[in-house]
Point group: C2
Chain length 312, copies 2
C-alpha cells in the first residue's frame, strides 16, 4: 500500500511542472541509468543548465537564439574545423579542464589547451629536418630536451610539433593544399632526450572569426588574437602525455590570449641571430631565430589506467 | 600611477589561470560588450558552465565526448529536423523556459512546448475542412472556442493545428512527401470564436531516436514516448500568442512524457462515437472520435512590445 502511494506521488510530479519542480523531475527520469558517473554528471549538468536559465530569466527569444547558435556551431564543424572546441577554448572551459586534469606542480612542464588544429598521422621526420616544406618565412631553429621531473633524459620520446604560418594559418585551414601537411612533424628524441628541427617563425594570429564563435567574440567586444606559439604534444612510455605550447616572449597579445592558455613558464624568447650559419651547421640565405625548451614529463597519478584513458 | 597598477594586475590575471581563477578572467574579458543584458547572460552562462565542470571534475575524455556529442547534434539538424530543440525538450529546458515566460494563472489556457515540428506558412482552410488529406486512420472531429480570460469570444483568431499520423510521424519526417503538408492546417474562428475541422486520431509516439538525443535517452534508460496530442498555436490581436497541446486522457505515457510537457488542464477525453454521422452532418464510412477544447487567451503583461518580440 505504501509503495503504491510513493509511485503515485512520483508519477504525479511529472505533470504540471513549475520552473522550480522541473529540474528534479528531469534528474529523477534518469535514475535507471546504469552508470553512477553518468547519472552524477547529467544531474549536475541539468541542475546548472536550469539554474542558469532561471537566474537570467531566459526569454523565449534568447532560447531560440541559443538553439540557432548551437546549431550553426555544429554545422560549421568539418574535417578541418572544430567550432565547438573553439567555443570551449574562448569560453575558458578548455583551460579549466586542462588545469583540473593536469594541475601545475613542481618542475613538471605545464599543460595548456590542445586547440583545434592538431592532426593525427603526422609523419615522423629525422632530427634536423625542415618542416616548413617550402613556405617562406624567417627561419626558426627549434630545439629541446625531454626528461623526467628530476631532469633524467628520456630517449625515444615522441615529440609532435605544429604551428601556424606567418599569415596565421594552419595547413588544415588551406583547402588549396588538398590535405597535404605543412608546418608539422613528429620527431623522436635521441639517446640523451634531445630533439631539433627547422621551421619558420610563427606570428600572433586570430582564431577563425567567420563562424558563430567569431560573432560571439565580436558581440563581446573581444579581440580574437592568440600570441605567437608553437604546439607540442610529447609522449613517452611510463609518463603522462604532455600537451602544451611555447609562447613568444614580448608578443603584444601575451596578456590577452583569446583562449586563456598562457602560462608564465611557457613563455620563452624567440632569439634573433644575425648569422646565416645555423647551430647545426646549416647554411641559410638569411638571418634566423632560435627557440629552446626543456620539457619535464610527469608520472601518471594514482590511477594510471584511467589517467591514460582520460588523456586520449 | 594607481591606474597603471590596476591595469597591470588585471593583465596579470589572464596568465597562469587556475581552475578557480579562470571563470572571473573570462567574464572580465567580456566587460566591454555594449549590452548589459548580454553581459549578464554570458556571465551567468560561463559561471554555471565552469561550476558544472568543477563540480563533476570533468575528465578530458568526457570533455571530448561532449564536444563530439554537440557537434553531431548540430549536424543532425536539417530543414526538417531540429535536434537541439529535441535536446532542450528532453532535458526539460523547454518546459522550464515556457513556464517562466508563461506562468500558469487563473482561467487562461496553459502553454506547453512548441516542439520541433511546427511549420510556417501552413495554409488556411475553411472551417470544417479535413486536414487528413487522404491519410487513413480513425476520423477525428476537432472543435473548440477561443475567448479571453473572462470567456468573451474572440472572432477571427488564427488557430494553427498540427499533429502526428497514426504511425507517430509528422509530414516533415517523411521525405517521400517532398515537402507537401499533411495533418496540419490554419483556421480562423467565426464571429462567436468557434472553429472546427476533421482529421484522424493521433497516437502516442517516440521522439526521433536515431540521432544523438536518442543515444542520450538510451544511456539514461528513458523511453522516448510522448502521449498522444494535438498541437495548437493560437494568435489573436491584443493577446499573447498561445502555444499549447491537448493530450489524450488515459494515454499510457501521460505521466512520463519524454519532453515533460503535460499539464492536467490540457488533458481531455478523445471520445469515441459509434455513429457514422459527424456533428457537422458529415457522413462517414466508420465510427469516429471527437475532441473539444475551450481556449482562453491572455492579455500581454506589462511590457507588451518585449513580450511580443520574445514570443516570436
Amino acid at each position: 500500500m505504501k509503495k503504491t502511494q510513493v509511485k503515485t506521488a512520483s508519477k504525479a510530479s511529472t505533470r504540471n511542472l513549475s520552473p522550480d519542480a522541473v529540474t528534479a523531475a528531469v534528474i529523477e527520469r534518469m535514475q535507471s541509468a546504469r552508470s553512477d558517473r553518468f547519472k552524477s554528471v547529467m544531474a549536475s549538468l541539468v541542475t546548472h543548465l536550469h539554474a542558469f536559465a532561471k537566474e537570467v530569466q531566459l526569454t523565449e527569444e534568447e532560447w531560440a537564439f541559443a538553439i540557432d547558435f548551437l546549431t550553426k556551431t555544429g554545422q560549421t564543424c568539418s574535417a578541418s574545423r572544430q567550432e565547438f572546441i573553439l567555443l570551449s577554448d574562448t569560453l575558458g572551459l578548455s583551460t579549466l579542464v586542462t588545469q583540473m586534469n593536469h594541475p601545475s606542480q613542481g618542475q613538471e612542464t605545464e599543460q595548456t589547451v590542445l586547440g583545434p588544429f592538431h592532426r593525427e598521422s603526422t609523419p615522423i621526420f629525422p632530427l634536423g629536418a625542415d618542416i616548413a616544406q617550402g613556405i617562406k618565412g624567417k627561419p626558426l631553429f627549434i630545439s629541446g630536451t625531454v626528461s623526467d621531473s628530476r631532469g633524467r633524459p628520456i630517449a625515444n620520446a615522441r615529440v609532435d610539433i605544429w604551428h601556424a604560418d606567418p599569415q596565421g594559418e594552419y595547413d588544415v585551414q588551406k583547402p588549396a593544399l588538398g590535405g597535404a601537411m605543412q608546418l608539422r612533424g613528429v620527431f623522436n628524441t635521441d639517446g640523451e632526450g634531445r630533439f631539433h628541427c627547422w621551421s619558420i617563425k610563427p606570428t600572433s594570429y586570430p582564431v577563425p572569426t567567420d563562424g558563430p564563435v567569431g560573432s560571439l567574440l565580436k558581440a563581446s567586444k573581444r579581440h580574437p588574437m592568440r600570441p605567437a606559439h608553437v604546439h607540442f604534444m610529447i609522449e613517452a612510455k611510463g609518463f603522462d602525455r604532455l600537451i602544451t605550447h611555447v609562447f613568444e616572449e614580448g608578443d603584444r597579445y601575451i596578456d590577452s590570449d583569446a583562449v586563456f592558455g598562457v602560462r608564465d613558464a611557457l613563455i620563452i624568447p624567440f632569439k634573433a641571430h644575425r648569422s646565416k650559419l645555423g647551430p647545426d651547421g646549416r647554411i641559410l640565405d638569411r638571418s634566423h631565430y632560435r627557440i629552446h625548451y626543456d620539457f619535464h614529463m610527469r608520472k601518471p597519478l594514482s590511477k594510471p589506467k584511467r589517467q591514460n584513458k582520460a588523456s586520449r
